[in-house]
Subunit: 591 residues, 2 copies
């Protein structure tokens, strides 16, 4: 098994028809990057991933990692694949031209993310971390850090990590214990133990650059006293080579449910030498900058692995024959009919497919808002910034949840074979599970949405988003072909407004109410964004459906979304409305 | 980790308060088995599992199986645990006294199942298969088979398997290829290859007895031409010992996502000697008899592993501190408050707990109906038989689905630690996944419910079930304390009636409609049974809540059910109503 083809047709549709790239290009700082070139680049990236990364995915899972004496040995095929990746120069594509990149827009990076993750999530994660560290040093590092690290990070010759979590704190970083003390030469000496460091040690590359959260001697308690220190495994020698080995060591690696070829390390910093990134005591804010981008990438993991699981389940289903069509035998020459004749098999596969199509549209939409937030001007730029803030927790939580559910549903399509490792689908299921936990669990995302993003500028981001949706509905209210889509969308938006008011008013008096409904509210809200995007896609496809099977299928997908996925919003609303009492009044001693 | 205590308090409540065992005992053939003795036996079984089975569970998962030259070597600790289990004579408890058992009622077996599964699912599965084979030979085998096998199976000295699936057929057994030809001595010679045979080969015991589905030379095509043959690994020597090695061999074992210490074998039967069980060409019916009991056991896997996951997640949550209570610091002396202060953590844990409590009540209810079906008289017996038929697919599908969702939610409670194998929770998540596939995927269960069980005797089983529910609601309509429970129950039952009518009427014209809504209908229906049981539990607990924390908590659990779980029925109904068109009209070539 292990069949995967990047969904290029879908991306073309999204980039050219749903989001008119040619129109947007000049507003996101890319007046000269034409649409055809972009298509071609995505095609090339897809070919590279399909041919070079994909074949390594199951082998990496089976072979896993070896740990001994502080060193982590990756499966040899991954070392080779990473070398080819460095040589391909693809990793640099989103980076600045000044540092060897091509400065491609962020929405393009989002598309590349999906494909890379589907190909090999263990490698994709390393790529995403590299870009995160690149961004931090690029935006906040002193000149010498830029010169020493950026070029190496853009190519992938060196790799980066985020070193935040400690054994006693993951979500609550304010209580971390790692310390940094000043050295006479202006550098810092970092001491402490970090856990769950993805890519903390491995033999893909010669050097690894850790972004470490630590408290300086004069750092106040809590999150306001944390600084960000850049601690390399080897100190740069000033000529682009490696100098002295730093005193950061891998103590152990975790045995995990999935991601078997991605090392999750315990790192011991024993007076390791590092350099401050950004101002003192601003570490949390900087890390959150990085984390917000990583949250989008983590959301895309749900999409990438869900899509890969779907494609594999579909390939299986197309071959598999069991039982007969309920309306009578379809294939007389065979002992049994193909299982795609069974409504329940279609239900599972189509929900999977449509979940992926919708999230792909939403992922690209957020990617474009990121570009607008970075390169746009005036009100458009500010609005994009607010939208990115509002939508990030939804992309992270909803995509990873739905991606995991999709991989699960795809196992079910295969029946017993789905539980067998050889089928490959169960690996996607195990791998995708971590995306719901990384970068702030999905419960934390939901709290971020209701507790921070909704009240931001007195709900301005929400209005930014809802007004165009209501306008869209109003505009197409008299179009009977659009009614099956705009009607439920309208009901959903009205429901969202009511739920939001309820959460905000009750939540002001009682934060438990807000927190108790946060998860379901986040999922409800995500469904509304998806419904809006689906309605827009239908509008584009209606006039083309007779000529183009692709456009006809897109409308069919929208029907599946509104009939088989979107109705969950009714139940979600009821759960939000139920409030917190049944949870918070429960006698803890009887749990 | 790995903390587990059997839910004895809950079972006592269910056996004595919800289902008045003392009242039922004489009607299920156990006039002399008193309630206290039953309690004591369950306690002893629980102690045995907690002390002997539980410690082997993670070790078994880590060590896994070794396969070489046709032999499967189990982790040594499991061989030792199984030996202790044989010596304990516990396995025989549900079997006839004639064959060394104690003839305990089936509902007691259901309770024992939950506990055993939570302790070590790989072993529990072997126990369940043994009982299944015991039942088949007991009910349908010739006297010599009974004498040769029953006693050995009751103790667990020999083990049993079901050998049904072949590479090209799992769900659709009518197309199987394994053949049996008559030997002059009245035995049969079986030839064919079976896959996915749980416990097909291992070194726990000396002999393994396979129940093989095969076609006799005069067997008609399809499911009506299949017979059941008993094929032992070693032929009995007539004196209770082992004779000649039979020509059934294990060709390979599968690498699976979970259940790492449960061998899933490919078995090659090469003219292996066997004996017919039951009449010729009745194999499918007999296998279904066995399978229905196994389906209940498989449902209980969701309950057992869900409960184990919950207990481990709760134990973690009680120790873990992150962040502060949203209403202000609760524990000034600590850096952070306990995570049970967070509504979203409670939401996950309480949904888990309440799902398990409800399913436990439903499992025991079905167990009692099984006893009534076997030992009851007249109309009560017939009604119980219908109810077992109706409820079996729901127990299998709903329990295994919800058990898997619960293990998933419990991983989330632990955050990053939940993804690490050491925590133990991820093992439950991997192990429970197979329960949704075994013994007919949950999609097949749903088709069984809507296609066979609902129309049975023109819907009589459904009426058997709904009338008492409606009577119950009517009886307590004026009780204001019951209103929060009976009102949603009433709405749900009305909805169920409407959905059933819709499915039956539309389904008569178009079987796709029926099949497209089957999965959601099954889940809807299961929720109604659970809601009814919850309302009954509340009624019992209301007068006792001031004195008894247990009874007060049970009412609190019911609130969680009705506010945080049951509302999913609204969405399920909408999906059933949506029908089949969006699925069946979808252009397959565009999938």
């Amino acid at each position: 098994m292990g069949s995967y083809k990047a969904p290029l047709d879908d991306y073309r549709f999204l980039m050219h028809e749903l989001f008119d790239y040619t129109d947007i290009a000049p507003r996101i700082g890319h007046p000269d990057l034409d649409a055809e070139l972009l298509d071609m680049m995505l095609e090339e990236w897809a070919t590279f991933i399909e041919e070079v990364w994909c074949p390594s995915n199951r082998i990496g899972d089976e072979e896993g990692l070896k740990f001994s004496n502080g060193t982590v040995t990756m499966p040899p095929i991954l070392v080779d694949v990473w070398r080819q990746t460095i040589e391909s120069e693809w990793m640099a594509a989103p980076c600045d031209e000044e540092w060897g990149g091509q400065g491609l827009p962020l929405f393009f990076r989002t598309a590349c993310d999906e494909v890379a993750i589907a190909g090999n999530m263990s490698l994709a994660v390393i790529g995403a971390l590299n870009l995160g560290v690149y961004d931090l040093i690029h935006d906040h590092g002193e000149q010498h850090l830029k010169e020493e690290y950026l070029q190496k990070l853009t190519t992938g010759e060196w790799c980066g990590t985020m070193a935040m979590t400690e054994a006693h704190c993951g979500t609550d970083l304010g209580i971390l214990k790692t310390k940094a003390e000043a050295n006479p030469d202006g550098s810092w000496s970092v001491t402490g133990t970090k856990i769950f460091i993805t890519g903390g040690e491995h033999n893909l590359v010669d050097n690894i650059v850790h972004m470490v959260l630590a408290r300086l001697p004069d750092g106040p308690e809590g999150t306001k006293g944390i600084s960000l220190i850049c601690v390399p495994k080897f100190l740069p020698d000033g000529n682009g080579g490696l100098g002295e080995r730093n005193s950061v060591n891998c103590v152990s690696i975790e045995k995990k449910m999935g991601l078997h070829s991605s090392p999750t390390c315990v790192l011991d910093f024993d007076g390791a030498k590092g350099w401050l990134v950004g101002e003192k005591h601003t570490g949390m804010a900087l890390m959150f900058e990085m984390m917000n981008r990583e949250r989008l990438s983590t959301g895309m993991m749900g999409l990438g692995l869900g899509e890969a699981a779907y494609q594999n389940a579909l390939a299986w289903a197309k071959e598999r024959r069991q039982g007969r069509d309920l309306k009578g035998i379809k294939d007389l020459e065979q002992d049994a009919d193909n299982i795609l004749r069974h409504p329940d098999v279609r239900r599972m596969l189509l929900r999977s497919k449509v979940n992926m199509e919708g999230m792909r549209a939403m992922g690209l939409y957020v990617g474009l808002q990121m570009d607008l937030a970075e390169h746009g001007e005036g009100e458009e730029q500010e609005r994009a910034e607010r939208l990115v803030a509002l939508l990030t927790p939804m992309v992270k939580a909803h995509f990873s949840d739905v991606g995991a559910e999709t991989a699960d549903e795809c196992i079910q399509v295969l029946g017993g074979a789905g539980y067998i490792r050889e089928s490959g689908v169960e690996q996607y299921f195990r791998d995708v599970r971590i995306a719901r936990i990384w970068e702030g669990t999905n419960g934390i995302q939901a709290l971020d949405l209701v507790g921070r993003k909704l009240p931001m500028q007195i709900g301005r981001a929400l209005r930014d988003l809802l007004w165009p949706i209501l306008e869209f509905i109003e505009e197409h209210r008299d179009n009977p072909d659009m009614a099956p889509f705009t009607k439920p969308l309208y009901q959903g938006v009205r429901g969202l407004q009511q739920l939001t008011l309820l959460l905000m008013s009750e939540g002001m008096a009682n934060p438990y109410f807000l927190a108790a409904g946060a998860t379901e509210y986040t999922r409800y809200f995500s469904n509304i964004i998806l419904a809006w995007l689906w309605a827009q896609m239908v509008l584009i496809c209606l006039p083309k459906q007779d000529e183009s099977p692709f456009h006809a299928a897109k409308i069919a997908s929208a029907r599946v979304f509104f009939e088989r996925i979107y109705p969950e919003t009714i139940a979600l609303a009821a759960k939000v409305q139920a409030g917190h009492r049944s949870l918070m009044d429960y006698p803890v001693e009887m749990m």
